[in-house]
Symmetry: C2
Subunit: 456 residues, 2 copies
């Protein structure tokens, strides 16, 4: 965490707000890149953020709206809520249609409807159309301004079209369509420069191109763009007509969001929780997960309770039982993490899951032996009872094997049920390793009780 | 995990290898995109993979080498090890210098040196130069073929230069330099098309451009490209002269790798472990982490051992003690995950860490009260002893507060010591929550022992 540029800006913004130096504040804000502004806004408190945003919005609406868009739809929409529907309708038109759609959708329902009613012309239609695609699909994240030309045009004509095009911001590929507007080819701007102007597009366009359908899941889009190193991928409708384009910068957002989601879900944190979300909202989001864990903790406590008479005769069992359960949980989490990430990266499929199960089981037994022997020796030295060590080692091997198989099968099973494996797996695994750990260790302790009491 | 295209290809590849149909196999392999081929290679066993790769390498060396490059440096280098240094030197020249450098570096040391000695001309120098930059820096991942022209040229001259350039694969930005080759501006290919050929580049180039230095950390590069939505960022040396360019597809790899690294490290899994790494290598990588955990588990067992006499008088304490420790661990993991991700995404800095600590402490106390009350009631109902419930609730609040503060401070502290916070935090947190959980619960149990024994 080096001193960041935005920390310096942040300090100045705060100071200028405090002393009410609006002109200086506006001047400072206008100089920042929208992405940096979003970073600054993200760290201001609600009142400061609204003040800074309002000053910028009145004088540089496009700049303000771009920063708002970078800030994310919820926080962004919140900054606009005090404005009239007319103003909002005008402001969101400063944005690309896909960004405008996200903001409009995040407004309170009634306001959102009024804004859509008030938006006029091309953008209105585009925003409304985008909002019709389900969340997390290609249709929702695409930019509807796709640059597609008839393959019958010449390169010279294409360049003229390109010069006339206004909305199309980041063109690097030029798509070609046949007479029925089906997507048929692609070429790059660079190629346009390398051939004579009278060359037909058809001659230089590559026919075997990748595209995704409007209903393709955004994760699948990200996977394709990333693995084929594309800068953009065209989106087609059900008839293979180009209706939009997804650029690599949108894909980066998808990849980052999905990674955060995986990391969070493994730990039982809700995806919209973060470092600076208000304490009350974090609490509301984290408590339910802890209650689920509490319920499962009582399940494993019930196992311990069943062995209470055994423990009362050999309290050494109480000392070592958390070790068996805890180590199983650790090993299970390792397996689970590798499996969940393997599913997310597309390496693990149903077809090769048997191979994964076999491998993880071997690792589980190996871990159990490796940890069991050391733990048994330590317990023997500490407690002076070889039987206790033996029981500890056996229980450890059993529990590590359970951890490995469960850590593999639970996420694969959840995936088969179309549940995100990252979401629910970890609570299953720790519950299983707690229950099996306690049961194996205390059960063995019960069987060999006279050896423990005799020597203990 | 839908049926993937590569699963179909994979089955055919296996079948063709089994029946020895080399011609058909070659034909099938040649039709696949290098990224897909890498996917197929990744799932073949070592012998099959070598067979398929060798067949392709002999007939379509560039295609084979591109697939090998997508497979990653270690696995890729392994496939080449059977070849002579002369052959390898020839094959790696099919690749871009940055990809070639990764492969050559992953070869066994002696072979790697011979290959470098045998490489000739421009590529040799480029590869050697790239290998001089430390790992994980901009210099290491950049492509040294940066397209930079004197700002004194006209647009027409620039287009001529562009048409003559061979190596420069994905050009979308054109960088301009002053007479001393300092990076001074940038323009896009599209802008070249929009102005008259006699326009000087100086007129259309934007001066205020972003660049990174060769020694910039790759995570920082990724952060800049992602937050400013760039397609490429120029890399400059210490004198601000352009020496390379990093394109967004390399950045995607960095983002994915860093996310995997964070996810893995939080679970104590080594970054080069994955679903299909051999069982023995996974075991060797996971056991050390489990031994660290075992050592800390013995630490917390020592706390329990100190209270053995107390437990022997009130065995109900043994039943509930894992709940306190486990729930603290769960809550600590939630906080830890949010903090580690906040650091990785650049949201959390030293400057705002006090705010984060305050927030997480509040959440910790809130969680403690919320969970404590429910757990206490349940314990009271199960065990019929109100004192036990009270002790459980108090211990839970203490431990959740410890979990929240430790979950915030440990990763921030590790970051200050320049240790990856994802790496070591989780073992610290669970050790702390185990020790404090046992100590708080059993300690309170000891203080109120007569109430527990009287009613128990």
């Amino acid at each position: 965490m080096p001193q960041r540029k935005i920390d310096v800006v942040l300090a100045s913004v705060r100071r200028l707000i405090r002393v009410g130096a609006s002109a200086n504040l506006l001047n400072l804000l206008q100089k920042q890149h929208p992405a940096d502004l979003a970073g600054v806004f993200g760290e201001l408190n609600d009142r400061e953020r609204q003040t800074a945003f309002d000053i910028l919005l009145d004088r540089s609406p496009r700049h303000a709206m771009e920063a708002l868009s970078e800030l994310g739809p919820e926080a962004g929409a919140h900054l606009l809520e005090g404005r009239s529907a007319e103003d909002i309708a005008r402001y969101v038109q400063e944005l690309e249609s896909d960004d405008a759609a996200s903001i409009v959708e995040a407004l309170p329902e009634e306001l959102s409807r009024s804004v859509l009613d008030l938006m006029r012309g091309k953008q209105e239609t585009e925003v409304e159309e985008l909002l019709e695609y389900p969340e997390y699909t290609a249709g929702r994240i695409m930019n509807p301004n796709v640059f597609a030309l008839s393959e019958e045009l010449t390169v010279g004509e294409a360049i003229t079209e390109l010069q006339a095009a206004r909305d199309v911001e980041m063109v690097f590929y030029l798509y070609t369509v046949d007479e029925r507007r089906h997507l048929v080819g692609v070429t790059s701007l660079r190629r346009l420069l390398l051939v004579a102007p009278e060359t037909p597009l058809k001659r230089i366009a590559v026919g075997d191109l990748l595209s995704v359908r409007v209903d393709t899941d955004q994760e699948e889009v990200a996977r394709q763009v990333a693995s084929y190193n594309l800068l953009a991928i065209p989106v087609v409708d059900l008839e293979n007509k180009p209706v939009g384009v997804i650029t690599v910068d949108d894909v980066i957002d998808v990849i980052k969001d999905e990674a955060t989601e995986d990391i969070y879900r493994l730990a039982g944190v809700s995806t919209d929780d973060n470092v600076f979300s208000p304490a009350r909202s974090s609490l509301r989001k984290r408590l339910p997960w802890l209650y689920v864990n509490l319920a499962t903790a009582f399940l494993s406590a019930a196992v311990v309770k069943a062995f209470e008479p055994t423990i009362s005769q050999a309290t050494a069992l109480a000392v070592f039982m958390p070790i068996v359960a805890g180590m199983g949980g650790n090993a299970g989490t390792q397996t689970l993490t590798v499996i969940v990430r393997g599913i997310a990266l597309g390496e693990l499929t149903f077809a090769n899951s048997r191979k994964a199960l076999l491998k993880e089981s071997l690792v589980g037994i190996g871990n159990g032996v490796g940890i069991g022997v050391v733990a048994a020796t330590a317990a023997w030295l500490v407690q002076g009872n070889g039987w206790l060590g033996l029981i500890l080692a056996l229980a450890m091997i059993i529990n590590m094997f359970v951890a490995a198989t469960a850590g593999t099968l639970v996420p694969i099973g959840l995936r088969a049920l179309k549940v995100d494996p990252a979401l629910a797996s970890s609570v299953f695994i720790t519950t299983l390793t707690d229950i099996f750990g306690f049961f194996a260790f205390l059960g063995l302790g019960h069987v060999f009780l006279r050896h423990l009491v005799a020597a203990g």
